[in-house]
Symmetry: C2
Subunit: 376 residues, 2 copies
């Protein structure tokens, strides 16, 4: 019934590497099944067209055993299968395969023809270093907490934090538009307090409100933030969609800090899921994050050191023309771990300390000490 | 420094039940940590305000051991912490906790004051039954495949499928805006072919294009779909954001079919993640899905039978005033399993068969046989 088509394909391919957990003898069959699942999702013997089999169907490019119970397979896909949009790129890489047991996405390689469609971080490490006139030291960030304070309280807190000379003050990731401190009121007051403090200190501290909203209120929240003079945005791609972050990076001109809320299941999925470095490094960067927050080892979240190392590496490794993004370890960071963090992550890092800055009587003095601890 | 606030809280609380894997002796400490993590994310001893401790902080409502190595704990949160928006509701339920090892979200209970904010499925089971004049039989769905065909090919295929008297024809979930069959062209032709066929058969078959697009192209795709006369929408909340689906259900007036792409890691996360029934039942329904596609047991994806049973139950269990949603088992469904599927899922089900309908020479005749097989 179907006439053969003439496909116009460039020949450019992206590739994904999957770790298949299970008997290596099954790996060839499983790899072929992924080639189908992620593209045509149709019985291969019924495909009416050699061009589709030859160009649209995924292609196994290599396989190697990893120990006795796993196989690393690399599969390539025509770039055209992605339609050159981020949601469909993720769909090709891991859409249905995420539903199969024992398949973990551990690496990906994108050709320049695809990377060109994703400008990535607008600032990245060089841009934020320039913004904060900090050529070598780690950048410093904190959050306004706890939920339940009023907008006035948050503004006073943000002002005190800014007076200490910190670089970035973000909303706590749980702040949205709660009645305790409604978004408009909170953002306007916090932005004003931080602006006033920055004028006094001479340091260009920025306030980054959290854009965590219903789909139809996202644009309005961003407009309020920009009008209020917010210097950057906190974005939660697990809640509002990863491509919304790309859109904000491309359209607002503000630095973007990505928060990992709700994304934990991807990395912690025992024998499935997505590698930490791919998710919190490569994909966040592809989606325009200038800073990628992740839970560091040794904090409240028990991420393995090796996973943290892979995230930090993926944030800065060459990736087409995309700028490197700041790894931003968090989740129970304390003042007494600053030295250890720098030793582990290097100086191209944003140190994000929340609650621990509030120990002691003088918030501004504590922040000043934090800043002093990282000056060369 | 911080003045005590006067919190206005209604006293209404939602609750989440988590399965904590690990030594039950650690469970009380871990449960208290979740109460903090999901709300104030701040050292409890530094919270300046009794009202915040009393009302904003999560509260352990109960705990019971499950075997020797797990504990089921129920934690309640003030409804105000959600800001009455879906992304922040998910954040409260599982945002940071998703990043902690061995914490699985297994149940949730939402008070009417919160459920009222989420109208849920616009059609649900009763609405779709009325639409397709099918008071008792399972509804039938299929997809246009494979990627690589032209818009003309897809339209011819959609027309042939519709002539067989099927209820719903969706785009394959991998179709976006690829050059092989660009969205506008494909949707206009398929909608027209299905409309013409429905006029001939007298059965109100609908075509459901896939709204899988960059954030800034979502509205345009929806407009094209509506203008073309699409009768429903396929939505991929894992790719475009779960609240975007709620928005489409609330704003378009069209039936919504939810596809699970990229959501697999949530349910398959070994000792973490989200229960199948909560994700593919409760949450999809809360976000307005009239039909929730999930990979059935015994297909290509190996979901356990018990998980499928929980999804089907969560789709129809009383949930405030929300309509029940059609469980839509899929992923390698075949004609010879129709009887088995009805026996397992009952008749309140959408049977979604893709590739298997294309075995044989006459697509329309195969669909007619599919339809006949479910008539009472």
């Amino acid at each position: 019934m179907l006439a053969p088509t003439r496909l116009e394909v460039s020949g450019e391919r992206l590739s994904a590497t999957y770790l298949l957990i299970g008997d290596p003898a099954d790996a060839p069959r499983r790899a072929e099944a992924i080639c189908i699942e992620q593209t045509i999702e149709f019985p291969a013997d019924l495909v009416p067209d050699d061009d589709i089999r030859g160009h649209v169907l995924g292609r196994v490019e290599g396989a190697e055993p990893v120990g006795d119970d796993a196989t690393r397979v690399r599969i390539s896909y025509a770039v055209e299968t992605t339609g050159f949009e981020l949601p469909q790129l993720l769909n090709v890489l891991f859409g249905n395969t995420s539903l199969q047991p024992g398949v973990r996405l551990v690496d990906l390689s994108l050709p320049d023809s695809l990377l060109e469609r994703f400008p990535g971080p607008r600032f990245g490490i060089p841009g934020l270093r320039e913004m904060f006139r900090a050529s070598h030291r780690p950048l410093l960030a904190t959050a306004t907490k706890p939920m339940g304070l009023s907008a006035d309280d948050f503004a006073r807190m943000a002002g005190a934090l800014a007076l200490g000379g910190i670089d970035m003050i973000k909303d706590d990731h749980g702040l949205a538009d709660q009645p305790f401190a409604p978004f408009v009121d909170r953002v306007q007051r916090c932005a004003e307090a931080v602006r006033a403090a920055a004028e006094r200190t001479g340091h260009p501290t920025i306030y980054m409100p959290s854009i965590n909203a219903s789909h139809d209120r996202l644009d309005e929240r961003v407009r309020v933030a920009i009008d209020a003079g917010a210097g950057g945005l906190l974005v939660l791609p697990g809640l509002t969609g990863i491509d919304h972050m790309r859109y904000l990076a491309a359209s607002t001109g503000l630095p973007i800090m990505a928060h990992p809320a709700l994304l934990g299941s991807f990395v912690s999925a025992g024998q499935g899921g997505v590698d930490h470095g791919v998710l919190f490094g490569t994909l966040m960067r592809l989606a325009g994050a200038d800073s990628s927050i992740f839970p560091t080892y040794g904090g409240r979240f028990s991420l393995p050191k090796e996973a943290c190392r892979r995230i930090a590496a993926a944030c800065v490794v060459p990736l087409g023309g995309l700028r490197p993004c700041f790894p931003t370890p968090s989740g129970g960071m304390t003042m007494d771990r600053v030295g250890e963090m720098i030793e582990f992550y290097g100086r191209d890092v944003i140190l994000l300390i929340g609650g621990d800055l509030h120990r002691g009587d003088d918030l501004t003095a504590t922040v000043a000490a934090f800043r002093e601890s990282v000056e060369v």
